[in-house]
Protein backbone atom coordinates (compact mmCIF):
# COMPACT_ATOMS: atom_id res chain seq x y z
CA UNK A 1 0.00 0.00 0.00
CA UNK A 2 1.06 3.58 -0.57
CA UNK A 3 1.48 5.05 2.91
CA UNK A 4 0.71 8.67 2.21
CA UNK A 5 -2.38 7.81 0.18
CA UNK A 6 -3.72 5.60 2.97
CA UNK A 7 -2.96 8.32 5.53
CA UNK A 8 -4.69 10.96 3.41
CA UNK A 9 -7.75 8.76 2.95
CA UNK A 10 -7.94 8.09 6.69
CA UNK A 11 -7.74 11.81 7.47
CA UNK A 12 -10.29 12.80 4.79
CA UNK A 13 -12.84 10.16 5.72
CA UNK A 14 -12.52 11.03 9.42
CA UNK A 15 -13.05 14.69 8.54
CA UNK A 16 -16.13 13.76 6.50
CA UNK A 17 -17.46 11.66 9.40
CA UNK A 18 -17.06 14.59 11.79
CA UNK A 19 -18.75 16.88 9.25
CA UNK A 20 -21.73 14.53 8.93
CA UNK A 21 -22.08 14.01 12.66
CA UNK A 22 -21.99 17.77 13.25
CA UNK A 23 -24.66 18.06 10.56
CA UNK A 24 -26.72 15.48 12.42
CA UNK A 25 -26.25 17.30 15.72
CA UNK A 26 -27.69 20.36 13.97
CA UNK A 27 -30.71 18.26 13.02
CA UNK A 28 -30.01 18.38 9.29
CA UNK A 29 -30.13 15.73 6.55
CA UNK A 30 -27.29 15.31 4.07
CA UNK A 31 -27.34 17.41 0.90
CA UNK A 32 -25.84 17.10 -2.57
CA UNK A 33 -22.54 18.59 -1.37
CA UNK A 34 -22.15 15.75 1.16
CA UNK A 35 -22.83 13.14 -1.48
CA UNK A 36 -20.22 14.86 -3.62
CA UNK A 37 -17.71 14.63 -0.77
CA UNK A 38 -18.45 10.92 -0.45
CA UNK A 39 -17.96 10.52 -4.20
CA UNK A 40 -14.55 12.23 -3.95
CA UNK A 41 -13.61 9.86 -1.11
CA UNK A 42 -14.74 6.93 -3.22
CA UNK A 43 -12.47 8.05 -6.08
CA UNK A 44 -9.57 8.16 -3.60
CA UNK A 45 -10.42 4.62 -2.45
CA UNK A 46 -10.57 3.50 -6.07
CA UNK A 47 -7.07 4.91 -6.67
CA UNK A 48 -5.95 3.04 -3.57
CA UNK A 49 -7.43 -0.21 -4.88
CA UNK A 50 -5.71 0.26 -8.24
CA UNK A 51 -2.30 1.03 -6.72
CA UNK A 52 -2.63 -1.90 -4.30
CA UNK A 53 -3.62 -4.20 -7.18
CA UNK A 54 -0.58 -3.08 -9.18
CA UNK A 55 1.69 -3.65 -6.16
CA UNK A 56 0.10 -7.05 -5.53
CA UNK A 57 0.62 -8.22 -9.11
CA UNK A 58 4.21 -6.96 -8.84
CA UNK A 59 4.78 -9.44 -6.03
CA UNK A 60 4.50 -7.02 -3.12
CA UNK A 61 2.06 -7.25 -0.27
CA UNK A 62 1.05 -9.67 2.47
CA UNK A 63 1.55 -13.43 2.34
CA UNK A 64 -2.07 -14.41 2.74
CA UNK A 65 -3.58 -12.25 0.02
CA UNK A 66 -7.16 -13.49 0.44
CA UNK A 67 -8.10 -11.42 3.49
CA UNK A 68 -6.38 -8.33 2.12
CA UNK A 69 -8.21 -8.57 -1.19
CA UNK A 70 -11.45 -9.05 0.76
CA UNK A 71 -10.88 -5.77 2.62
CA UNK A 72 -9.79 -4.08 -0.60
CA UNK A 73 -13.04 -5.03 -2.32
CA UNK A 74 -15.06 -4.17 0.77
CA UNK A 75 -13.50 -0.70 0.95
CA UNK A 76 -15.28 0.22 -2.30
CA UNK A 77 -18.72 -0.93 -1.13
CA UNK A 78 -19.01 0.98 2.15
CA UNK A 79 -19.47 4.56 0.92
CA UNK A 80 -22.01 3.85 -1.85
CA UNK A 81 -24.13 1.90 0.64
CA UNK A 82 -23.78 4.72 3.19
CA UNK A 83 -24.67 7.35 0.60
CA UNK A 84 -27.72 5.36 -0.48
CA UNK A 85 -28.94 4.89 3.11
CA UNK A 86 -28.11 8.48 4.07
CA UNK A 87 -29.71 10.13 1.07
CA UNK A 88 -32.91 8.11 1.49
CA UNK A 89 -33.58 9.35 5.02
CA UNK A 90 -34.35 13.06 5.01
CA UNK A 91 -33.60 13.63 8.67
CA UNK A 92 -30.58 13.91 10.93
CA UNK A 93 -30.50 10.11 11.05
CA UNK A 94 -29.62 10.00 7.38
CA UNK A 95 -26.55 12.06 8.24
CA UNK A 96 -25.67 9.54 10.97
CA UNK A 97 -25.99 6.68 8.48
CA UNK A 98 -23.62 8.44 6.07
CA UNK A 99 -21.29 9.26 8.98
CA UNK A 100 -21.19 5.59 10.00
CA UNK A 101 -20.01 4.70 6.49
CA UNK A 102 -17.31 7.39 6.61
CA UNK A 103 -16.15 6.13 10.02
CA UNK A 104 -15.88 2.61 8.63
CA UNK A 105 -13.40 3.67 5.93
CA UNK A 106 -10.44 4.45 8.28
CA UNK A 107 -11.05 1.20 10.17
CA UNK A 108 -10.89 -0.76 6.91
CA UNK A 109 -7.73 1.09 5.79
CA UNK A 110 -6.02 0.51 9.16
CA UNK A 111 -6.83 -3.19 8.94
CA UNK A 112 -5.42 -3.31 5.41
CA UNK A 113 -2.23 -1.59 6.57
CA UNK A 114 -1.87 -4.13 9.39
CA UNK A 115 -2.25 -6.98 6.92
CA UNK A 116 0.10 -5.36 4.42
CA UNK A 117 2.89 -4.85 6.94
CA UNK A 118 2.41 -8.35 8.34
CA UNK A 119 1.51 -7.29 11.86
CA UNK A 120 -2.13 -8.24 11.39
CA UNK A 121 -3.75 -11.51 12.41
Amino acid sequence: MVGWLAGTMIALSLAAAVWFLVLSARDKPIQAVHLLAMAVLEVGLLVQVITAAVLLTGGHGPEGKGTFVGYLAGSLVVLPVGAFLGAGERSKWGSVAAGVACLTVPVVILRMQDLWSGTGV
Binding site: V81, L85, S91, G94, A97
Partner: protein, 130 residues
Protein backbone atom coordinates in the same frame (compact mmCIF):
# COMPACT_ATOMS: atom_id res chain seq x y z
CA UNK B 1 -40.35 4.22 3.54
CA UNK B 2 -40.71 1.35 5.96
CA UNK B 3 -40.96 2.37 9.59
CA UNK B 4 -38.18 0.18 11.02
CA UNK B 5 -35.63 1.69 8.64
CA UNK B 6 -36.64 5.32 9.13
CA UNK B 7 -35.49 7.77 11.78
CA UNK B 8 -32.95 6.27 14.20
CA UNK B 9 -33.59 2.95 12.49
CA UNK B 10 -31.74 4.28 9.45
CA UNK B 11 -28.54 4.69 11.46
CA UNK B 12 -29.06 1.19 12.84
CA UNK B 13 -29.47 -0.22 9.33
CA UNK B 14 -26.19 1.47 8.35
CA UNK B 15 -24.27 -0.18 11.20
CA UNK B 16 -25.90 -3.54 10.49
CA UNK B 17 -25.01 -3.19 6.81
CA UNK B 18 -21.36 -2.52 7.72
CA UNK B 19 -21.29 -5.60 9.94
CA UNK B 20 -23.00 -7.73 7.31
CA UNK B 21 -20.30 -6.66 4.89
CA UNK B 22 -17.36 -7.19 7.24
CA UNK B 23 -18.60 -10.45 8.77
CA UNK B 24 -19.61 -11.72 5.33
CA UNK B 25 -16.30 -10.84 3.71
CA UNK B 26 -14.33 -12.31 6.58
CA UNK B 27 -16.38 -15.48 6.55
CA UNK B 28 -16.12 -15.83 2.79
CA UNK B 29 -12.33 -15.55 2.91
CA UNK B 30 -12.09 -17.98 5.84
CA UNK B 31 -14.29 -20.60 4.20
CA UNK B 32 -12.50 -20.23 0.88
CA UNK B 33 -8.92 -20.28 2.12
CA UNK B 34 -8.82 -22.81 4.93
CA UNK B 35 -12.00 -24.31 6.29
CA UNK B 36 -10.11 -27.27 7.80
CA UNK B 37 -7.90 -24.95 9.81
CA UNK B 38 -10.60 -23.99 12.32
CA UNK B 39 -13.98 -25.34 11.21
CA UNK B 40 -15.88 -24.37 14.36
CA UNK B 41 -14.70 -20.76 14.41
CA UNK B 42 -15.19 -20.45 10.66
CA UNK B 43 -18.71 -21.88 10.79
CA UNK B 44 -19.52 -19.45 13.61
CA UNK B 45 -18.24 -16.59 11.46
CA UNK B 46 -20.54 -17.73 8.68
CA UNK B 47 -23.51 -17.98 11.06
CA UNK B 48 -22.75 -14.50 12.43
CA UNK B 49 -22.59 -13.11 8.89
CA UNK B 50 -25.96 -14.68 8.05
CA UNK B 51 -27.53 -13.29 11.22
CA UNK B 52 -26.29 -9.78 10.40
CA UNK B 53 -27.60 -10.16 6.86
CA UNK B 54 -30.99 -11.31 8.14
CA UNK B 55 -31.18 -8.46 10.68
CA UNK B 56 -30.24 -5.87 8.04
CA UNK B 57 -32.83 -7.28 5.64
CA UNK B 58 -35.56 -7.44 8.30
CA UNK B 59 -34.93 -3.88 9.52
CA UNK B 60 -34.81 -2.56 5.97
CA UNK B 61 -38.07 -4.26 4.97
CA UNK B 62 -39.74 -3.61 8.35
CA UNK B 63 -40.28 -7.29 9.18
CA UNK B 64 -40.48 -6.91 12.91
CA UNK B 65 -40.72 -10.56 13.92
CA UNK B 66 -37.78 -11.62 11.77
CA UNK B 67 -35.80 -8.64 13.06
CA UNK B 68 -36.58 -9.59 16.67
CA UNK B 69 -35.52 -13.18 16.04
CA UNK B 70 -32.30 -12.18 14.28
CA UNK B 71 -31.31 -9.57 16.86
CA UNK B 72 -32.22 -11.99 19.67
CA UNK B 73 -29.99 -14.71 18.20
CA UNK B 74 -27.30 -12.07 17.72
CA UNK B 75 -27.41 -11.08 21.39
CA UNK B 76 -27.42 -14.74 22.49
CA UNK B 77 -24.53 -15.38 20.10
CA UNK B 78 -22.30 -12.55 21.25
CA UNK B 79 -22.97 -13.37 24.92
CA UNK B 80 -22.60 -17.12 24.46
CA UNK B 81 -19.56 -17.11 22.18
CA UNK B 82 -18.07 -14.23 24.15
CA UNK B 83 -18.33 -16.14 27.42
CA UNK B 84 -17.17 -19.40 25.85
CA UNK B 85 -14.14 -17.76 24.24
CA UNK B 86 -13.15 -16.15 27.54
CA UNK B 87 -13.58 -19.36 29.59
CA UNK B 88 -11.96 -21.65 27.03
CA UNK B 89 -9.71 -19.57 24.75
CA UNK B 90 -8.03 -22.68 23.33
CA UNK B 91 -11.21 -23.70 21.53
CA UNK B 92 -11.07 -20.55 19.37
CA UNK B 93 -7.76 -20.61 17.51
CA UNK B 94 -9.15 -18.10 15.03
CA UNK B 95 -11.17 -15.05 16.05
CA UNK B 96 -14.82 -14.69 15.15
CA UNK B 97 -16.75 -11.45 15.21
CA UNK B 98 -18.29 -12.51 18.55
CA UNK B 99 -15.13 -13.77 20.32
CA UNK B 100 -14.22 -11.88 23.52
CA UNK B 101 -17.66 -10.19 23.31
CA UNK B 102 -16.62 -8.50 20.08
CA UNK B 103 -13.51 -6.83 21.52
CA UNK B 104 -11.82 -7.00 18.11
CA UNK B 105 -14.61 -4.81 16.74
CA UNK B 106 -14.63 -2.24 19.53
CA UNK B 107 -17.38 -4.14 21.39
CA UNK B 108 -19.86 -2.85 18.82
CA UNK B 109 -21.14 -6.46 18.32
CA UNK B 110 -22.17 -6.38 21.99
CA UNK B 111 -23.81 -2.95 21.88
CA UNK B 112 -25.54 -3.39 18.52
CA UNK B 113 -28.13 -6.05 19.50
CA UNK B 114 -29.02 -4.07 22.64
CA UNK B 115 -29.66 -0.99 20.50
CA UNK B 116 -31.53 -3.20 18.05
CA UNK B 117 -33.85 -4.59 20.71
CA UNK B 118 -34.40 -1.09 22.11
CA UNK B 119 -35.37 0.17 18.67
CA UNK B 120 -37.67 -2.76 17.94
CA UNK B 121 -39.38 -2.40 21.31
CA UNK B 122 -39.73 1.35 21.02
CA UNK B 123 -41.10 1.03 17.51
CA UNK B 124 -43.71 -1.45 18.71
CA UNK B 125 -45.02 0.92 21.38
CA UNK B 126 -45.24 4.04 19.26
CA UNK B 127 -45.34 3.22 15.55
CA UNK B 128 -43.37 5.82 13.63
CA UNK B 129 -45.33 7.95 11.22
CA UNK B 130 -44.53 7.33 7.60
Amino acid sequence: MSELSSGPGRALVAVYAVFTLSAGARSGVQLATGFDHAPVAYLLSAVAALIYLLATFALWTSRRRIALAAVGVELAGVLGIGLYSVLDPGSFPEPTVWSQFGAGYGYIPLILPVLGLWWLRRGAKEPANG
